[in-house]
Amino acid sequence: MSDKAVQKNTSKKKKGQWSEVWRRLRRNKMAMLGLTIISIFILLALFADVIADYDEVAIKMNTSIRLQGPSKDHILGTDELGRDIFARIIHGARVSLQVGIIAVGIAIIIGGTLGAIAGFYGGKFDNIIMRAMDIFLAIPSILLAIAIVSALGTSMLNLMIAVGISSIPSYARIVRASVLSIKDQEYIEAARAIGAKDTRIILKHIIPNSLAPIIVQGTLGVASAILSTAGLSFIGLGIQKPAPEWGAMLSSGKDFIRQSWHVTTFPGIAIMLTILSLNLLGDGLRDALDPRLKQ
């Protein structure tokens, strides 16, 4: 067999595995609903500038049209400073998704590495890392995030760092658990036998095989990171004003809830739909990636 043929063969095999997952996922109606909603939000966020200009619509005040209900010009109405709520929600989606995904990325990279080291080497490493994680876990994650943001100051980057750091322990635990179960498999022993280095074993064999639980946890994690971000913004520790952020919109709209329900309702619905869709998708992925669970 030539090199090309080997490549073709493996890629076909890989494709086969993922298409099987996709086939199973497609059968799950709720998961598909979640995927559809989250895709719509992602598309809105990507094309936010095309749909509504940031400087001219999303943050431009026009106090003469403040607190107006949904209408043809402003399909979700205007807020207390006369800004278009729809434009703010789609630009807010950009912020929320960005913070959610990057925060989870930070948590997966740091937590995953720590978990992999702990699981792979065991012994002293394992003890030190996991006891440190236990201490982390003892602090409620939202409190930890509040402490980090107050210490670093409010900015989008700090928000990502805060939310990311506070969810490190859960990834460390998951990765460690799956590394422990993979570590004694025959193919690892085989790799070791042909003299592969630890880094190669971890990167080439262990991580790809422990990806499934990370994907599931990551999807659910984005949801909880978005929720944490909204929570932090709600109490005034979010990103810089006047940038739109769902939690901050919810918070400033709550004063007007009796006169203008839409100011606080629509950002709330946006948060709810995003979290719900990510959770549905995450559950669906779990079932699709591990078919034994269903049987």
């Binding site: 400073l81 709550k254 004063d255």
Partner: protein, 511 residues
């Protein structure tokens, strides 16, 4: 399928009906839920302490006003009238003599005497939070049981106004000594209401004092409830759980006005809001930049949008009811072109980056947002930093800030209290001058106002000082807020005091 539709239409009908019915309710009077002789007052924060020397914040003062009396009191028209002192005279430039009322009893049964006055003011002078209110008072001399002299180290014209402050309330020596550290939770005064219980964070209950020296109050029990959310205070009024609600949110005002069972009382207050500059930090050390910002912000828009019009544009530091105010000052008007010109002259044609600090009060955050948007027009990019209240005070008094939003209430109604701490160069930082503003001319005029006994000369000094301050613009002058209170229509006799602490002595409840 048919069955489902039936159920659906039933549900829709019920929902519609309940909406219609709930919208109809409440148009005719609101039945009070409290006992006939119990008055429930809701305010936005719990008292910190009921020891007048331990704190100088409004929620505490509002409760202390009912428990204590001062030697002299100010009426709602800011006139000074006798209270525990029956009469007073100025013996010489440095000595005031007060004749005290006799037969006044403290709530613990002790009789009020000159020794209590001496004890109180000596203790007050030793308190870091309120000693500044007594200013240059040096010594309290007991002449006899009902005569007391206050001696100052230099002439101190606004003394009487300062003695009307709730922090100058008279305490009982025996009660303070007996409670020690816990006095703030066991206050004893001579006022119309005696302290009963305090459920921290929830409510403070006061009982009418039967032998109050001006006659017992009509209401037997007063409950101060802590209701932080403005919306909930209005809802409390609407459900009849609350009789009087302090500080109705601007947006809720119409709900109270339109409700046939409620009444909204509005009146002037002695407080002004401002956006201060750190005048020692570039670029705010340049007076042209400070003036440019004053021209660049449309304050009327802030009042319309954030306060629902409940305020008056501040053209000078003091509102008209305060002694020493200068109504001839024209101040700054909204003029973007002029602002741009001044920025150009100052060498900031392309603007600069800076920050606005505020605490997390929704009104102040909204002000910051509008100012941020309007400063963008003249090229200034301002970040809004929401800083927790304690840290906000600490860091602004350390001078770490660029711009900050804060208010000041001239509780005594005299320009000395309203100007000295804010603009005198000896008061930099924590004492009140967070602009770090220094102008020897202003210092001189404020010193004259503090020590000069001649009323006309004081007035002239204060008027001139304010002209200089407005020209120097250490702050963006925002507004003088009007204050409001919502009450059940069954409540009679409530009057707003411009200082923000309202006496409940004359309030009655109609059945």
């Amino acid at each position: 399928m048919f069955k489902n539709k039936k159920i659906l239409s039933l549900v829709i009908t019920i929902l519609t009906l309940s909406l219609v019915l709930s919208a109809c309710g409440g148009s005719k009077g609101i039945t009070r839920k409290n006992p006939a002789d119990t008055l429930v007052v809701a305010q936005g924060a719990d008292a910190k302490s009921l020891d007048p020397h331990a704190t100088n914040d409004q929620p505490s003062s509002r409760v202390m006003k009912q428990i204590y009396n001062t030697l002299v009191a100010s009426t709602v028209d800011m006139e000074i009238v006798p209270a525990l002192a029956e009469s007073w005279e100025s013996i010489d430039e440095l000595t005031w003599e007060f004749k005290l009322a006799s037969g006044v009893k403290f709530h613990n049964g002790e009789e009020f005497k000159a020794s209590d006055v001496k004890f109180t003011y000596d203790r007050m002078l030793a308190s870091p939070s309120v000693s500044h209110i007594l200013g240059p008072v040096k010594e309290i001399k007991v002449v006899d049981d009902y005569t007391v002299q206050i001696i100052t180290s230099e002439p101190f014209a606004p003394l009487l106004s300062h003695l009307t402050h709730t922090a100058s309330s008279i305490l009982n020596e025996k009660a303070v000594t007996a409670s020690g550290e816990d006095y703030g939770q066991n206050p004893v005064g001579t006022g119309p209401f005696a302290f009963d219980t305090w459920q921290s964070g929830d409510r403070i209950t006061l009982k009418a004092s039967e032998d109050y020296f001006q006659g017992a109050a009509a209401v037997k029990t007063v409950v101060f409830r802590n209701v932080p959310e403005g919306t909930n205070r209005t809802v409390g009024l609407e459900t009849g759980e609350v009789d009087i609600a302090y500080d109705i949110e601007p947006i809720d005002k119409n709900l109270v006005i339109d409700n046939a069972g409620l009444e909204l009382i509005e009146g002037p207050s002695l407080s002004s809001q401002y956006l201060g500059f750190n005048t020692q930090k570039a670029p705010f050390d340049n007076v042209k930049v400070r003036q440019a910002i004053n021209y660049a912000v449309d304050v009327q828009e802030i009042i319309d949008v954030v306060l629902e019009k409940a305020g008056e544009v501040a053209k000078s530091p003091l509102m008209e009811l305060i002694f020493g105010s200068n109504e001839d000052i024209q101040g700054y008007s909204y003029d973007v072109e002029k602002a741009k010109e001044l920025m150009k002259e100052a060498g900031f044609e392309n603007g600069f980056k800076t920050s606005i600090w505020t605490n997390d009060s929704p009104v102040r955050v909204r002000i910051a947002e509008i100012v941020q948007a309007q400063l963008k027009e003249i090229g200034i990019e301002a970040n809004i930093e929401v800083v927790e209240w304690g840290a906000f005070l600490d860091r602004t008094s350390a001078g770490e800030h660029d711009m900050f939003i804060l208010g000041w209430t001239t509780v005594t109604g005299d320009a000395d209290y309203g100007l000295y701490a804010l603009y005198h160069s000896s008061q930099h930082g924590d004492a009140g001058n967070r602009f770090f503003y220094t102008n020897p001319e202003v210092d001189k005029l404020l010193d004259i106002g503090k020590t000069e006994v001649d009323t006309d000369k004081r007035l002239a000094a204060y008027k001139e000082a304010q002209e200089i301050i407005v020209a120097d613009a250490p702050q963006l002058f925002l507004y003088f807020s009007t204050q409001n209170v919502g009450e059940n229509k069954a409540i009679k006799g409530f009057q707003l005091h411009p200082a923000g602490h309202h006496s409940l002595y004359n309030v009655t409840i109609e059945q």
